[in-house]
């Protein structure tokens, strides 16, 4: 069963000890400079013999929205799932290079994967609420942390549902099953659920691809509201969406990071011909 969690893949480089300087990036003036929210350096990933990610290097600053685009199968989701080590769930995965969250190596042996996943939240392509009540869904992460006080749970659940722009629609029916919500509502519920454990980063794997245009628009609005407080990385196969929601865009092709630039520049005057071809629809 590929759901058994395998041993964490062994990083090729030594883990960076506590409190050390952040990863590569524009020259930082002093240790006071904050490391990028997420970064990778020469990061490679193998599914068995197949190299799915080829030496990806990028940095994602705090509180920005970054879109990852590319044709299907190019490795977008794989890259995304590297940041919260969800690839651990797939047997036969091997990695090399570095992936850092807030400057810290996620593959270091002393890394607490459980804690990592709280700091880096994820929203999936198909909404996957638990078959529990709306309240229990949002409160899930908090309860797992050991928060039992009813009053506090209620306050936090309300706060998260408000942040996810869902509160007004469900405030009178919190005990209803989450499965009775529409697709768009379920996805916003999943976002609220993710916000409950107070992550620093939110990873979104094609969050609106299973939704209708109205629901998609609401999710996109939500992303704009959330970026004030969270770093957001969104994989999308919809280039117009990428242009709408993101400040920076990364273009992946066959596991290789072809180009990574501000969205504006990427879509008006891309540096690579491949990028231009993809954006203008010549392939993919």
């Amino acid at each position: 069963m590929e759901t058994a969690i395998v041993e964490p893949p062994r990083a090729a480089t030594a883990p960076i000890p506590e409190g050390a300087a952040p990863g590569p990036g524009p020259a930082a003036p002093a240790a006071a400079a904050r490391p990028p929210a997420l970064s990778t350096r020469d990061y490679r990933l193998f599914y068995g013999p197949r190299e799915a990610l080829k030496s990806v290097t990028l940095e994602i600053p705090e509180r920005t929205v970054v879109a990852i685009i590319g044709p299907s199968g190019c490795g977008k989701s794989t890259l995304l799932r590297s940041f919260n080590r969800m690839n651990d769930l797939i047997p036969g995965v091997r990695v090399e290079g570095e992936v850092r969250v807030a400057g810290l190596d996620v593959f270091a042996p002393e890394t607490d994967v459980v804690e990592l996943r709280r700091r880096v939240g994820m929203v999936f392509q198909r909404p996957n609420p638990f078959p529990k009540s709306i309240f229990d869904n949002v409160a899930f992460g908090l309860r797992m942390l050991g928060l039992g006080d009813r009053g506090e749970l209620e306050a936090r659940v309300e706060s998260c549902l408000r942040q996810a722009a869902l509160w007004d629609e469900v405030k009178d029916s919190l005990t209803r099953s989450a499965l009775q919500l529409s697709g768009g509502q379920q996805q916003r519920l999943c976002i609220a659920r993710c916000l409950a454990v107070e992550p620093e980063v939110i990873l979104m794997d094609e969050p609106a691809s299973a939704l209708d245009p109205t629901a998609t628009a609401r999710i996109e609005e939500l992303v704009q509201e959330l970026k004030a407080s969270y770093t957001i990385v969104a994989v999308t196969h919809n280039m117009q969406q990428a242009a709408r929601i993101s400040e920076r865009t990364a273009f992946l092709l066959s596991g290789r990071l072809v180009e990574y630039d501000t969205t504006n520049r990427m879509f008006t005057s891309p540096r690579e011909k491949l990028t231009e071809d993809y954006i203008t629809g010549r392939f993919g």
Binding site: M1, L116, G121, F124, M144, C194
Partner: protein
């Protein structure tokens, strides 16, 4: 596929087969054979239905008059020719209860480990699956032998010696019979629980893990609740088997007539299946005990059928819900 469609005569257009008198007779004979086969196999199916009807019908017809509330609540009297079978019912319930207490944590625990923790290709996993499959094929009398040789003689005597007792644990007892039955039913529970766990969609695990829940938290708060109907099915099926199997308890604790009800796990007990067996084969006056015998058989039959029916209902409702959700 009715034979009618094939028996229709071929139209003239462009078939490779030469039209003519040679084609038609063959098909007619074929059509007859089709019908014959359908009838023959249909009769076989009907015969099976008939067998079930006859057996159940016979037991119901000759047994229903005996089964009254008094019958169920009273103890047997006058050498099993009068009274009731309450002690046997009590003993069966006690036996099955102890069995479930041992069986469910063990079986579900093993299933959880196989499904969520073990690597599917590891040698240990393969060993466990191999053991489970083989356990399922062991004849029930061999379980009885094991119960006697291991639980009663080895463990029981060992405990007596260790505690400085005379003969308390080292003899046929409720606990040993229950453990023997638990081992007998272990494959059922493990297999159904594993099936139930793997039926939970992958996305549930991913959602939980991505929120920072540990593996056990995921199992306990997300997977087990969703797998509960399947696990319940396995538990109910094993209760049914536990109540019906006699060979494993022949030497591990069942007794024909006891003037008391079992009060401790080291006591012997009366049991429905065992009662039927002894009553049917060793009764001194077959005709006089026949009413009690039929009544007991009817009670056991109804019990096992009810349990199986419940399990089947749960399983089909579960399947319908899964199908509807997709």
């Amino acid at each position: 596929m009715s034979t009618r469609t094939l028996a229709a005569p071929a139209s003239g257009g462009g078939t490779a087969r030469a039209a003519g008198p040679t084609a038609l007779p063959r098909r007619r004979a074929g059509a007859g054979l089709d019908r014959a086969l359908a009838v023959l196999t249909g009769l076989a199916a009907l015969f099976i239905v008939g067998i079930v009807a006859v057996i159940v019908g016979n037991i119901v017809i000759f047994g229903w008059r005996t089964v009254t509330w008094e019958f169920l609540a009273a103890a047997p009297r006058q050498g099993m020719t009068a009274g009731g079978i309450f002690p046997a019912i009590f003993g069966t319930v006690a036996l099955v209860f102890l069995m479930i207490v041992a069986l469910v944590p063990l079986g579900v625990g093993a299933a959880v480990y196989l499904s969520e923790y073990a690597r599917p290709t590891s040698r240990f996993t393969q060993l466990v699956r191999f053991s489970v499959n083989n356990l399922a094929g062991v004849p029930s009398i061999v379980f009885g032998l094991f119960g006697l040789g291991f639980f009663v003689q080895f463990l029981g005597r060992g405990i007596d010696r260790g505690l400085g007792l005379d003969v308390v644990w080292g003899q046929p007892a409720l606990v040993w019979a229950a453990l023997t039955l638990a081992l007998l039913n272990l494959p059922v529970v493990i297999v159904t629980a594993e099936e139930a766990l793997s039926a939970v969609p992958r996305e549930m695990r991913e959602a939980s893990i991505a929120l920072g829940a540990t593996r056990w938290q995921t199992v306990r708060h997300v997977l087990l609740p969703q797998a509960l109907p399947g696990i319940l099915t396995g538990a109910i099926l094993s209760v049914s088997r536990g109540a019906g199997e006699v060979a494993p308890i022949l030497f591990t604790g069942a007794a024909y007539f006891l003037p008391y009800l079992p009060a401790s796990p080291t006591d012997q007990f009366m049991e429905l299946g065992y009662h039927i067996f002894v009553l049917a084969t060793q009764s001194p006056d077959v005709d006089a005990t026949k009413p009690l015998l039929y009544g007991t058989v009817l009670v056991l039959l109804l019990l096992t059928l009810l349990l199986n029916l419940t399990a089947i209902l749960i399983r089909s409702r579960m399947r319908a819900r899964l199908a509807g959700r997709r």
